[in-house]
């Protein structure tokens, strides 16, 4: 059994939240450049140019890409042969979020209570933590800060089996149309299909946080991703919602077995500031 110190987890999370918020992943930068070459709307081209300049500036000056540095969503895959020592696991993660957001000059956007006392927690805790126990001796932490503009446009539909592929298509396109400019397109559209109510949402969130260059292992879902992407890019929404042919960079679908009477579909949209960073400990 391998030992992993809670303090090391804290340190890793603290640096990950800063990296994720200031450095746009390489594949997103490449997608921005490609889109700028292909965009037919002059205004759209100008928006994409601003977004490229923004990404360069943010990385160079360690300024967040976007002021909404989000809630810190943490996916933790914990190797079952790892023994965490020197502190409680959740606390170690939250300490890392606190340290990273405070030392990194990131915006603190969490309130204590959603309804009665909307007071800022002042350190962006608590993190939204998703843990899986996996075989092996390694822990993988993936951080995906997520702002409210795109998160507020999330959709869950409890479709029935008869709604089929057409129902999924309709759900995704309606979500994108409703999101429009508010989700800061060009977006990455995460879709979760199957499972049950909460699991479909988690699948959608995982899908939205996938690397842009990642590929669906199943050719049928891969084809559906491509088809949906083409349809989304023909909505006309365009960069920043000001009109154009670049509305999304990718559609990612994650799926899971479901009930004989169910077809849950969740959509979680990530903005062009599709931030994530990962570390293996």
């Amino acid at each position: 059994m391998r030992e992993l110190n809670a303090a090391d987890i804290t340190q890793a999370i603290a640096s990950l939240v800063q990296t994720a918020n200031t450095n746009l992943p390489q594949d997103m930068c490449a997608a921005l450049a490609r889109a700028r070459a292909q965009e037919v709307s002059p205004v759209g081209k100008d928006v994409l140019k601003q977004l490229e300049a923004n990404a360069h500036l943010a990385a160079r000056e360690s300024i967040p890409l976007c002021q909404d540095t989000g809630m810190a969503v943490v996916f933790a895959d914990i190797g079952q042969d790892v023994h965490i020592v020197g502190g409680a696991f959740e606390e170690a993660v939250n300490k890392g979020v606190r340290k990273g957001y405070c030392e990194g000059y990131l915006r603190k956007s969490c309130v204590k209570d959603p309804l009665f006392a909307r007071e800022n927690t002042l350190d962006n805790t608590p993190a939204i933590l998703h843990v899986r126990i996996v075989p092996g001796e390694t822990c993988v932490f993936r951080i995906a800060p997520k702002g409210a503009g795109s998160e507020n446009k999330s959709v869950l539909r409890m479709l029935v089996p008869a709604d089929g592929i057409e129902g999924v298509r309709k759900t995704v396109l309606e979500a994108v149309e409703a999101a429009g400019a508010n989700s800061c397109p060009p977006m990455v559209v995460g879709v979760g299909i199957g499972g049950n109510m909460e699991y479909a949402c988690l699948l959608a969130k995982r899908a939205a946080a996938r690397d842009l260059c990642s590929e669906n292992a199943d050719p049928r879902y891969r084809a559906l991703e491509q088809e949906l992407l083409m349809a989304i890019n023909q909505t006309g929404i365009g960069p920043a919602g000001l009109g154009g042919v670049t509305t999304a960079f990718a559609v990612h679908i994650e799926w899971a077995p479901t009930h004989i009477a169910q077809l849950p579909v969740a959509v979680n949209i990530n903005c062009h500031a599709a931030r994530h960073a990962e570390i293996r400990l």
């Binding site: 709307s41 205004v43 943010a58 000056e61 300024i63 002021q67 508010n182 000001l242 009109g243």
Partner: protein, 189 residues
């Protein structure tokens, strides 16, 4: 869609200038603007209802829906891009009645706000959402005017120089989000 010339505009925005701007026009804004988002809007409107004095005279002001990230030492501000304007819609007509001369944010507005835009002749500008680092560069001063306890949501005065934006809804009620979408609907890349 036409490519338009860049209008250099200064605040407070004159109504004669506002009337010339059309949805889709590119602008560069220079001068003082007010930073206020959800919580500051709620308080401003609460002051109006209670007939209490406002912490700042809204007449002629251009309001920017923004909640910046903290400044690193040696910088004026952190990232400072627009937030979703639609959340301010319930408060906006009352603030336009108080004399605002412009608004900057991102995303569509409600039908009631579009009506108020036409009635008061106050354009709504869009800045590029998520270009926070870049937009922060156009801000040369940031001073909290009221409610510091709101942190990023405090009411603040900003000086901007050549702040890049686009006319999203003009004083006739034309709206670039609808026009832009229509122009490129069905077009393949």
């Amino acid at each position: 869609m036409h490519t338009s010339t860049v209008h250099a505009i200064t605040t407070p925005l004159e109504s004669a200038t506002a009337r010339l701007l059309r949805a889709g026009d590119v602008v560069r804004i220079t001068g003082h603007i007010l930073a206020a988002r959800d919580a500051a809007h709620k308080r401003l409107v609460a002051c109006l209802h209670a007939k209490e004095p406002l912490p700042v005279d809204l007449h002629g002001q251009v309001i920017y829906y923004v909640g910046p990230s903290p400044a690193r030492p040696g910088r004026v501000i952190g990232a400072a891009g627009p937030t979703t304007a639609g959340r301010m819609d319930p408060y906006t007509p009352q603030l336009l009645a108080e004399g605002l001369s412009g608004m900057i944010g991102k995303g569509m507005r409600s039908a009631a706000v579009v009506e108020a835009i036409k009635q008061y002749g106050v354009p709504y500008f869009a800045a590029v959402g998520g270009a926070g680092a870049l937009l922060g560069e156009a801000i040369t001063s940031y001073t909290v005017l009221a409610w510091p306890e709101l942190g990023t949501e405090a009411l603040a005065d900003m000086t901007v120089v050549d702040f890049p934006a686009i006319v999203a809804i003009d004083v006739l009620g034309n709206d670039i989000y609808t026009m832009g979408r229509k122009a490129y609907q069905g077009v393949k890349s």
